[in-house]
Symmetry: C2
């Protein structure tokens, strides 16, 4: 019994955690992860030099990008190669900031930067700006040292310095950022964020360079959504872990579905803009039905088309005696349906003019197609659309529980088919949304190692005087020691969009490519998965033992496709 | 790149899975678990004999239990001790059935029974009745052999032979069961189920004994809810795994809450009758607020009381600058609130007489207290109560999304306090329901081992001629080799309830005891957790390495309290 008590208490080992905001206790797995040793790519383990590639251009509209980034446009990407840089070691003052939503591994980017500075630039200082970009503007920071960083090594979340969604984009905000950089005498700043944050990082780099300030800015690719990637930046961190967490849950639900034999589970997965998460989870678990927003958009499908697609498979499965199944739906699906976008636009217009009457006469203002679609929607969704508005009075598409909507629409359509004699079974839907559970999990071994390399590499880029690059670690399907390390010109990832009559630079989100290897693999198998049950249950992420070094399918397939 | 493709394909190793219903592929973790070797308690590894204890009584109303179980009442519990039973090895014909909802480990009970028969009763046959007790009545079964069982070893779900919720309770049903037992010449039957299923197992044992049939019946304690337990049966299987899966998700959400700093996460957890799951998850993760149904009932709290309790803590936390948090709510909470039960009863009465009018005059039929409560409920919940009815026309309490209800009620109350100047912060609620994800996960090492011992022990009880016992494995806080093995008289767990004018035997659900060690530990710490953030993130279940042999807190504390 004494042993039992000891086991219990060992769960509560206090760990030093000097955030000043809270004291924390760690679980055994968390504790164990603290001392998980990370491999570095071979090139980072010895002397290296930074080699520039050819001049770069832009992803689109290079002339406009050149106007927006006169100092930085055209600069080459850089790659680290073995050799002697010939630089005398210098100490650096570097800031780091987390921007936007959480992604597993962010803490390891920071520890990678810190360790680089410790290993290669003795006497350096690392400032952690608190609460996102606002921390830069308000000069709110923590000086990060070994003791401070240690409890966050290989841990999930962004709680070391927290994140924020503010942007540095107005002249006043650039001025504040510059004041902070001058005040702290910053040699460099690492911005860890998604497409928007990296765009802003590049604007800041341009701004600093334009002011002849010494402060360089390096970005790092973060987002569980997986939609910040390109040839040189093959993955955004956090995607691997988040997908594995969702896939664990989906796998469990599949086993439940098969055991019970009477439920269709409609699983909505986080990821508003692109459907990478849903596609990856499908590749990991083999659901009966998977909706991919990009495909729905490409085929210009209506809500009725999508519902019929689901119902057709359910009806066919019923013939085989299977009255259960698992259906994956990306969070942003309805944004991909053209007719829904039209309806939303019309509703916003009507709502803006407060033209909604009790008797429902307002509906006559809808275009016939939109009215038909509106009538097709379940009553609860209709109400949600009319009642829940954002601060600007607009319909909140994000609040629509797509998985529940489809359950009701499928129910209605199956009832029609039953009446017509085309369906004879019982349909029961169960809804799920997997989102927040995946954003802050303990990073997988892949994300832990990848992030550490991203951070370590960012340190190297700063030391070599680079600015306006995004830390790029490549060859990720190979063993860690063979990974490549470098930096890609952020301007080379950019195009422009016209907003409010002005050109704005944007890093275009990487959508699921219907000609890409991951989608093609999925497309070649989904019919088989639809009718035969090929469920795979990945189980919980393992940090040691089986599958602990397994990388997500999307990444492997994308590398394979390039080979 | 070839290596990458190979890694990918290794995910899809086909494993033999002869269920006839589906072919399946296994993940690396699933594959690895297949060959996970299980320890047996020392007493099961050598010769043993079965020793009877003193005559037993009942948990309540022994006279009535005696009338209901004239053959079995008073029979002793049994314990296995080292020694030579003196029996010549005999081959047995045994059936096994899964009854009720899924719980991780069920497959290992079956493999435990099978291995016992292989090891000790050569030439035996194990019949797996398909789809629950209906499989017994319809004589629908699969003969289980090594090849058939192998792919399910240490796997989650109940898909080996599936489960069902039918009951064997009418004379006609008993007759069908007896016919099957005679047809298959069954020496024994193992019923794997919860309190109801074990009660029915005992009725079947009584019935067979009464008919002088040789078929013995042994129960096994299954339910993730953890509410089938007593001194001799210290745990129901599946609880350990399910709680660990939920705690992983809660821990992730906690890290997210702390990183974002702006959401209160309201997490509803499966477990309708008792709040053990919620209590265990609280002990594993240290949330800011935890509602325990049994305590709410004991204190005769109203919905307003509970809402105020939450709001008080949120207000206090706002003073400390914390506008985020995590709140755990047991699925069955509102069943514990007396005034809600009253309202539901009145609503059912009104709905039964179809007395609901558009103008809402029907509300005058509610008692004043119920009317007040009804008005307090958010509109969406009011609607849900009035619209969603079960096949008997009753309000479906189970459908109420308690977590969303509380978010709305808390929002309203905080708005009141804001008006009164007692709250100045911003409140944003996020709702979660963790249920199905936990029922069919890969069983933890504890559940794998525990279930195997339960099954192996059930085999031993059958061989020794026992009937009407529930397989009991004890001393669970000690190392596996020291676990005790035996069987507890099912009648000794029973009391009676009066239903439709008749006494019905019931195994009373084990509720959270407010004087028990787990609740007391929680109660002594919750104030600390409420205002200071002591979150623990247990991380995903590990099958090797750190925490892989960790047992749930409830079990350890209950053993500690008895020590």
């Amino acid at each position: 019994m004494a042993a039992a008590a000891a086991t219990l208490l060992s769960n509560g080992d206090a760990k030093p955690q000097n955030t000043g905001r809270f004291a924390s206790v760690y679980s055994e797995v968390q504790n164990n992860r603290l001392d998980h040793s990370l491999s570095l790519p071979a090139v980072l383990r010895k002397s290296f030099q930074v080699v520039d590639g050819p001049p770069s251009s832009a992803a689109g509209n290079p002339d406009e990008i050149k106007k927006l980034f006169p100092c930085l446009f055209g600069q080459p990407s850089a790659v680290l190669v073995p050799g002697d840089a010939g630089n005398a070691p210098q100490s650096l003052k570097v800031g780091v900031v987390l921007s936007g939503g959480q992604a597993p591994g962010g803490h390891n980017v920071i520890s990678g930067i810190y360790d680089y500075l410790q290993d290669r630039c003795k006497g350096s200082t690392l400032y952690g700006f608190r609460g996102g970009p606002a921390g830069i503007m308000k000069c709110k920071y923590t000086v990060l040292n070994s003791e401070y960083i240690y409890p966050f090594r290989n841990q999930g979340g962004f709680d070391m310095i927290r994140s924020g969604r503010d942007k540095i984009e107005t002249p006043e905000q650039f001025k504040q950022a510059a004041e902070t950089a001058l005040k702290l005498d910053l040699d460099g700043l690492v911005v860890i964020g998604g497409d928007d944050s990296n765009t802003n990082a590049c604007l800041l780099a341009e701004n600093f360079r334009n002011k002849n300030m010494k402060t360089r800015v390096i970005g790092c690719p973060k987002t569980i959504d997986g939609d910040l990637k390109c040839k040189e930046v093959p993955a955004s961190f956090g995607f691997d872990t988040a997908c594995k967490i969702y896939a664990e849950m989906i796998g469990n639900v599949m086993v439940d579905a098969r055991s019970t034999g009477k439920y269709y589970h409609f699983v909505r997965l986080m990821g508003r803009a692109a459907s990478h998460i849903t596609l990856e989870c499908a590749l990991q678990t083999h659901p009966n039905i998977t909706l991919i927003g990009e495909e729905v958009a490409a085929n210009k499908q209506t809500l009725k088309n999508v519902t019929d697609y689901i119902v057709d498979i359910i009806t066919k499965r019923a013939e085989f005696g299977y009255n259960y199944g698992v259906i994956l739906i990306p969070e942003g699906l309805i944004d991909f349906i053209p007719e829904v976008q039209l309806l939303i636009a019309e509703l916003n217009e009507i709502l803006a003019h407060d033209e909604v009457d009790e008797a429902g006469l307002w509906k006559q203002k809808l275009q016939p197609q939109s009215l038909e679609l509106f009538k097709l929607l379940p009553a609860a969704i209709q109400e949600q659309l009319m009642l829940e508005r954002d601060p600007h009075g607009n319909v909140q598409v994000a609040k629509i529980e797509t998985e529940k909507m489809f359950i009701q629409m499928v129910e209605t359509e199956l009832e029609n088919r039953k009446q017509a004699g085309a369906y004879k079974a019982q349909f029961k839907g169960q809804s799920h949304f997997f989102g927040y559970e995946g954003r802050c999990g303990l990073p997988s071994n892949f994300d832990s190692t990848y992030c550490y390399a991203l951070g370590y590499g960012a340190g190297a880029l700063l030391q070599s005087g680079k600015t306006g690059l995004i830390s790029s670690v490549g060859n990720l399907a190979a063993p860690v020691e063979e990974w490549t390390v470098g930096g890609t010109a952020l301007t080379s990832l950019m195009d422009v969009e016209r907003r409010h009559g002005k050109f704005k630079p944007v890093i275009k989100k990487a959508m699921v490519e219907l000609e890409g290897a991951p989608f093609k693999q999925f497309a070649s198998l989904r019919e088989e998965w639809a009718l035969n049950n090929r469920y795979i249950s990945p189980g919980p992420i393992q940090f040691v033992g089986p599958a602990s070094d397994k990388v997500n399918h999307t990444l492997l397939l994308e590398f394979g496709a390039q080979a």
